[in-house]
């Protein structure tokens, strides 16, 4: 990789000043929840970083994650990251197609064996390998092949991280996540449907700047810097929740006033992400700000978690039918219990033998 251009040269080529670069590093440092003192270190690390090879595999997905990452905000700060890596294989972005594309992947793997980074979006079907293939190679086979020589894998989007929408009940393709298949490589999950573009690029930047070990992950393999607080705890509508002011429908007074969306099914209280602080499209907005409850897309099985428009506190089961059965069953059992008690009472009365004082004296 020594012959590949270093970042400063690339920066010049893209017309980015040193000042702009340092500002970017400071932003990135705060994004990664690192202390400001580390900003120069980020700059140094990025400056010294050569372009590691990155292979982006797209399996059962909707290209939403790629669409999101290409919309990361101007002035081409994420473009910088894109150019700081050597993206050797990516269906949507690469010019090559067919055999040439596969050859590029194989060449990149061979050249950088043991050092390249694999990014995966999309889930992997296990029910039938033919459900999703690329150049005649099944997703499962391609993932195993490519993962073998990888330094690490980043599972981008909820499909790659947790199975996502393809994994939703009844999961016709037998879709699973990357971590369900690859167990011997470090995997960083960056879930979301799609994930916030800046979060995706920040994780990559942290990987480039400080290495894999610097990325602290939670039990679900998500970087703690971006997935440790709930959206609810950072939501700008939280004061309305605390005041007990809720929108009851999408067009009532509360909705117009921007009140809390809990009763409309918001999953903010159980969803860990930085949506409410980092936001989308250059910090413009996020779903709750746009008036829609959070769907909880950074959590596993978000598609099956009881309905998007059902409040979290409302039962998701079959309680209405069971409640009616309970009313009928309880009443029947009550009548039966009462009848038994009555018969016990009357039989006790029938068996009752009057005792006179004489009888008592006889016994003693």
């Amino acid at each position: 990789m020594a012959d590949k251009p270093l970042l400063p040269e690339l920066m010049k080529a893209h017309g980015i000043s040193r000042r702009g670069f340092l500002k970017y590093c400071a932003t990135l440092t705060s994004m990664m929840a690192l202390p400001p003192i580390l900003a120069p270190k980020v700059a140094m690390a990025l400056e010294g970083a050569s372009r590691p090879s990155v292979i982006w595999l797209s399996f059962q997905e909707c290209t939403g994650c790629t669409e999101a990452i290409t919309r990361s905000y101007a002035p081409t700060i994420e473009d910088l990251i894109f150019n700081a890596i050597s993206l050797d294989y990516h269906h949507t972005l690469q010019a090559a197609s067919g055999e040439a594309a596969e050859a590029a992947r194989e060449a990149a793997m061979e050249e950088n064996w043991g050092n390249y980074l694999v990014i995966v979006d999309g889930s992997i079907p296990l029910a039938n390998p033919g459900f999703s293939t690329i150049a005649g190679i099944s997703n499962l086979e391609m993932l195993k092949q490519t993962a073998e020589g990888a330094a690490a894998i980043v599972a981008v989007g909820s499909c790659a991280a947790f199975g996502g929408i393809p994994h939703a009940d009844p999961n016709p393709t037998g879709a699973v996540s990357v971590a369900d298949i690859i167990t011997d490589k470090p995997i960083i999950n960056v879930p979301g449907c799609p994930p916030i573009p800046v979060v995706m690029t920040s994780v990559l930047a942290q990987f480039l700047a400080f290495g894999l070990d610097s990325i602290e992950v939670d039990d679900l393999g998500r970087p703690k810097a971006f997935y440790s607080e709930t959206i609810h705890d950072r939501c700008y509508r939280r004061p309305f929740y605390d005041k007990g002011l809720f929108a009851e429908s999408f067009d009532d007074e509360g909705a117009r006033e921007g009140w809390c969306l809990y009763k409309l099914g918001c999953k903010g209280p159980t969803t860990k992400s930085v949506c409410a602080t980092v936001k989308w499209n250059d910090g413009t907005s996020f779903p709750i700000q746009a008036g829609h409850p959070c769907l909880g897309c950074t959590e596993p099985d978000f598609w099956d978690n009881g309905g998007f428009y059902k409040p979290l506190s409302v039962p998701a089961g079959d309680y209405r039918k069971l409640g009616l059965a309970a009313v009928a069953g309880g009443a029947v059992l009550g009548v039966a219990g009462g009848a038994i008690a009555r018969s016990v009472k009357s039989s006790a009365a029938a068996k009752h033998e009057p005792v006179t004082p004489d009888d008592l004296e006889k016994k003693s």
């Binding site: 007990g244 309880g330 009443a331 009550g334 008690a341």
Partner: protein, 221 residues
């Protein structure tokens, strides 16, 4: 990959709630129907007063402590009131609970401020601790206490503590705490018909019964 906390929450919101609600509703009906089927012996004596009116009146008048009771057992009375008020404020005025009740029976009302709910919860918890303390301290009460009393105490305090923790992201993951809160409430629901918690329904029946007997005899109760 699964999130075990979320799976637990979904169980608590799904089958867990179904089971709890079925047992609670079925159990309450079983107990009530059993009581009513058992019936009362017909009173053949000529009534000296209005039993029905006196019965209804007693349902409410017995909520006021009788004379001297406050002096005899102040902690029981004060903490008893505070617990009931705190518990019902927290239960009936938190937005999430109103959403649940609305889904169950279709009636909703405005939610209260979180600060008020939290004060009510704290008061209810402190009152429960005070009540347990008097139960331990007084040898007579301690001797009278059964397993049922302690079980109901635990089942009553758990939803309050776990609910407070879930709303304030205390003691770890908020999803897990929300699941534990729901499960604790479901434990309370299941125990409801088969423990002294049933007084929340039968108090009206027994007070009416006592009141109407006295009323029929022309006496006050």
């Amino acid at each position: 990959m699964n999130n075990p906390y979320f799976d637990l929450l979904m169980w608590a919101r799904g089958p867990g709630f179904d089971i709890a609600l079925t047992i609670m509703v079925g159990g309450i009906l079983l107990r009530l129907v059993e009581i009513f089927v058992l019936g009362r012996k017909k009173d053949l004596a000529a009534p000296k007063g209005n039993g029905v009116l006196q019965g209804l009146r007693t349902v409410f008048t017995r909520s006021v402590p009788r004379k001297g009771a406050m002096k005899e057992a102040p902690v029981t009375y004060i903490a008893g009131y505070l617990f009931h008020i705190g518990f019902f404020v927290a239960f009936l005025f938190l937005g999430a609970h109103i959403a649940l009740i609305g889904d169950l029976i279709g009636i909703q009302w405005p939610a209260a401020n979180k600060a008020l709910i939290e004060i009510a919860t704290a008061i209810a918890v402190v009152a429960l601790i005070a009540l347990l303390w008097t139960r331990f301290k007084d040898p007579v009460r301690r001797a009278l206490s059964t397993f049922d009393d302690y079980l109901v105490w635990v089942l009553s305090i758990l939803p309050l503590v776990t609910g407070y923790a879930a709303v304030n992201t205390m003691f770890g993951d908020s999803t897990l705490m929300m699941a534990i809160h729901m499960l604790s409430a479901e434990a309370l629901m299941i125990a409801f018909p088969f423990t002294k918690l049933m007084h929340a329904v039968t108090f009206a029946v027994s007070r009416y019964y006592n009141g109407s007997i006295q009323g029929r005899k022309g006496a006050e109760s």
